[in-house]
Symmetry: C2
Subunit: 218 residues, 2 copies
């Protein structure tokens, strides 16, 4: 026995979980409807009873991937910058947990299909700093774009390192996880710093109670 192709008749959940396994084991380019069907011991056409098309399947995978993101144990004493950092880090970890996870989420988030919960969590974290809704929404999308772009890049390099393909000639850096994490934290800190600065600008003195803070210029 090679997998979970046990007793015929599958559920939507089976299909999604098997797809996640293929994704993680072989990567997004190898996640085809025909390969997925074969893993389920079924004809490709059978998949269309569970999902109307591949796009919808991928959106479901995106939801599951970000849905597995840990809720940062913020404790009681977490201020808003740490909440934002915590959500960003949890999201990064969730994306890294599946091969090509960032690309799956990015491709469906762009369509407004998946990744919505991810943005909402980031948004809530920003709003806890007392920023108005539009500022929080925009900051959250900026954060999300950075996170998805960074982790996509990170995962692409992982594949290249394992395949041994070097594009730029040179012996391109072998992708140190410590470096990646530091570069990630730097980007998040830049955005958080920008928010901090927004707050300071709108409340020059006594700038420490989390009230409503207006956006810069409209």
């Amino acid at each position: 026995m090679t997998g979970n192709e046990s007793a015929r008749r599958h559920t939507r959940d089976d299909v999604a979980e098997t797809a996640l396994r293929i994704l993680d084991d072989y990567g997004l380019p190898d996640l085809t409807m025909r390969r997925l069907a074969a893993a389920l011991d079924v004809q490709a056409s059978a998949l269309y009873w569970h999902f109307p098309n591949k796009q919808t399947l991928l959106a479901e995978l995106a939801d599951r991937i970000v849905g597995r993101a840990a809720v940062p144990a913020a404790g009681a004493g977490a201020d808003w910058p740490d909440r934002v950092r915590g959500e960003a880090a949890a999201l990064r970890d969730a994306l890294l947990a599946y091969r090509d996870g960032a690309e799956v989420v990015a491709s469906t988030a762009a369509l407004g299909l998946g990744g919505a919960p991810a943005q909402q969590r980031l948004e809530a974290a920003v709003r806890s700093g007392g920023f108005d809704d539009e500022t929080a929404a925009r900051a959250a999308t900026a954060l999300l774009h950075f996170v998805l772009g960074h982790v996509s890049h990170e995962q692409q390099r992982m594949q290249f390192d394992s395949i041994g393909v070097l594009a730029t000639g040179e012996a391109a850096d072998p992708l140190d996880e410590t470096d990646s994490a530091a570069a990630f934290a730097f980007g998040v800190d830049l955005l958080v710093g920008g928010l901090h600065r927004l707050r300071d600008a709108s409340a020059p003195a006594a700038a420490d109670r989390p009230e409503e803070i207006s956006r810069s210029r409209t």
Copy 2:
């Protein structure tokens, strides 16, 4: 006569420019090797004399798209934040100039193939603020990820609006260019603000000469 399928025998440049035209007219999913060959009045296999594979073709397109980005007329009196904002805006315009431009650049930038010049221009702008090389490099990648993510999203919505596909039910906002531009500027300002704050932190008083500024924590 329908296009540029004139007198046989094409150059690499022909192929790339025709590909750009198909990209702009029909979008990335319709830019197939076979379609491109047909537009050139040639067999698909002929394209492989000019480019080793589709990936390389796309990298070439990415280079041409970002290569067409205007050099912001910064004048003499431009400070570093305006230089950064100017480069980011020029890059956005360049991506918007071709349908699916952001996705093309993003897909190849992730592979370390295309988009390198874009990053370098952003990096130079940041460095003009007196930041050290690693800070400038990291800030530039953060900016690039945001720009690519934002414009990809923007262009995806453009397609959906024109096709009339609404994912989230609701009558999803019809993508106001003014709003998009404002959200873009907000994101860039957040990153620029973060850099500003980095500088202020390392030079608490008399913080206005552009010297070397060290990165926060390593």
